[in-house]
Symmetry: C2
């Protein structure tokens, strides 16, 4: 697609990043601050303003036509507010209004971070050219977003594609969200590590109990580590198949730290997908690792802003 130069914010529990992004998805200017996640809401906003001020100091800023925000969720795009789980000082925080004020009235588009990553993958990554796609991030949590009918589908509040919190195990373990057997409760990095430890896997001399360490053990043939990834893959497959059965996606793109495990995750994921994606219209679903990296949040927020600033009915990305 053709997009103008736009500004972007990527807001997470660890860092707040800002950028100017050009029409080819290249980052022209960037700035970053740690998120003062345990401080009050105004302190967090001050960090956002510092990032924006640093980006706006660039001579290129004057060409920016809009600003996109991808934020840790939940977000409420219809109200313009965010309530990131890991930023307790922000509950119903009017981020859209505050960013509009801080940028001299630029049009602001807010989406969840999973939707932003999806916009990036559809524009620049593995979902490019697909009219119907699920893109997901498997990391500390499990998030995602949807492309439907050739267009990003943020939904009314900007949260669509929230695959981490659909239940695939209705009698399963309680999830911090209040549900049971959510995909995230089974497939996130911390849950992969927890299950391996509970099964008797022990970390090496460095004491690393991350999912990456479990992946290394699985690669070396440790059966408990392999089983923990297989269980995660089963939950992801059930969630991907559910999404395909509900909205007919052609591809599922999987990114995030846990996806870096490579075939340790993707091999059982492909197998399990055959078990759950059974109906004729979902059997041909493709599976691919994400191509956009750590900048996906910024690039995707820019793409969402470019879409949000024009007629939704005619905007398409990926072309």
């Amino acid at each position: 697609m053709h997009i103008d130069r736009v500004a972007a914010l990527d807001i997470g529990g660890t860092k707040i990043a800002g950028a100017l992004v050009d029409g080819n998805g290249r980052i022209l200017v960037r700035a970053q601050r740690p998120t003062p996640a345990q401080e009050d809401g105004e302190s967090v906003m001050r960090a956002v303003e510092e990032v924006l001020a640093e980006v706006a100091a660039s001579p290129l800023w004057s060409g920016a036509t809009a600003i996109g925000i991808g934020s840790a969720g939940p977000v409420d795009a219809s109200a313009g507010t965010v309530s990131p789980v890991n930023v307790p000082g922000w509950r119903g925080f009017p981020l859209v209004e505050r960013v509009r004020e801080a940028t001299g009235g630029l049009p602001v588009t807010l989406v969840g971070d999973g939707v932003a990553m999806t916009a990036a993958e559809h524009w620049q990554g593995a979902a490019r050219g697909y009219d119907n796609a699920l893109c997901m991030v498997v990391s500390t949590g499990v998030g995602g977003g949807l492309v439907l009918g050739g267009k990003l589908h943020p939904g009314p509040t900007g949260n669509s594609g929230h695959i981490g919190h659909i239940s695939v195990d209705l009698d399963g373990d309680l999830c911090p969200c209040g549900g049971r057997g959510c995909v995230e409760r089974i497939a996130s990095g911390p849950n992969i590590a927890r299950r391996a430890l509970e099964g008797g896997w022990q970390p090496g001399p460095d004491g690393d109990t991350s999912a990456a360490a479990v992946a290394a053990a699985a690669r070396a043939g440790h059966p408990v580590a392999i089983a923990s990834f297989e269980r995660a893959a089963q939950a992801l497959a059930a969630g991907i198949a559910a999404t395909a059965t509900l909205v007919e996606i052609g591809i599922a793109v999987v990114g995030g730290g846990v996806a870096n495990a490579g075939e340790v995750l993707f091999a059982p994921l492909r197998r399990s997908l055959r078990d759950y994606a059974t109906l004729s219209f979902v059997q041909r679903i493709e599976l691919a690792p994400a191509l956009t990296g750590t900048d996906a949040g910024l690039v995707g927020a820019a793409a969402a802003a470019a879409l949000g600033s024009r007629d939704e009915e005619t905007a398409t990305i990926g072309g």
Copy 2:
């Protein structure tokens, strides 16, 4: 919406119905044949042609601008073919082409029966006025369809919203579709009855072991009958919550024979929905019984045809 007069076909495993439907969703002419489900494909098509000939014999036929087909699935709208599970003589049967030939070249729109029911509920029923809705039929099977962004969302092959075959119990019982723990495997009428019988419920002197008989027993306070409906409601709630979490629906409309159980189903369904629809953007989802009755398939096929015969980007129903 304003629609022209259109023809409609509703094709199921038991009967084939045809109609002329006016712009207000009224049925002007109708015809029906039993489905010769166990005969060869050409015999089934002959029944379709007889239904069409009877409808076309009406003097009103000359005003018909399009024909919509709602068919038992799976369907493939992109190929124009149907393969209804209960009509073994039709496997990849080119129904769209054959109906076009039989109607002198009218534009034909094919959707799955769950999508057709959804079109009817959005046009005339409980989903009217909602931009984002899931409509479902809980009966011998469990089907459904989606309205997204104010428009029917059939998906590329006409099967979107197929909620009966998403897994909500990834280690659960095998489903005839090949998956495990599908919503239909837990919540369909036959499965409600099976579970009640397995739990020790016994039918009355009339020997009726239908889900309706289990509902009557539940209404009379039989704990096993109540528990079987509660389990069905739990699976439906997990499926509805998953749909809301994935695509942000404002209402879930539940129809079909099992929904006739009324509060025996809806009371535990409302309770279970609170357990699974936990994220802020799905907590306010509404739940309503379907309003369109046995003609939903015909009315919905007509609505789908009216949408299919105009620019997809501008067509809306429900307004």
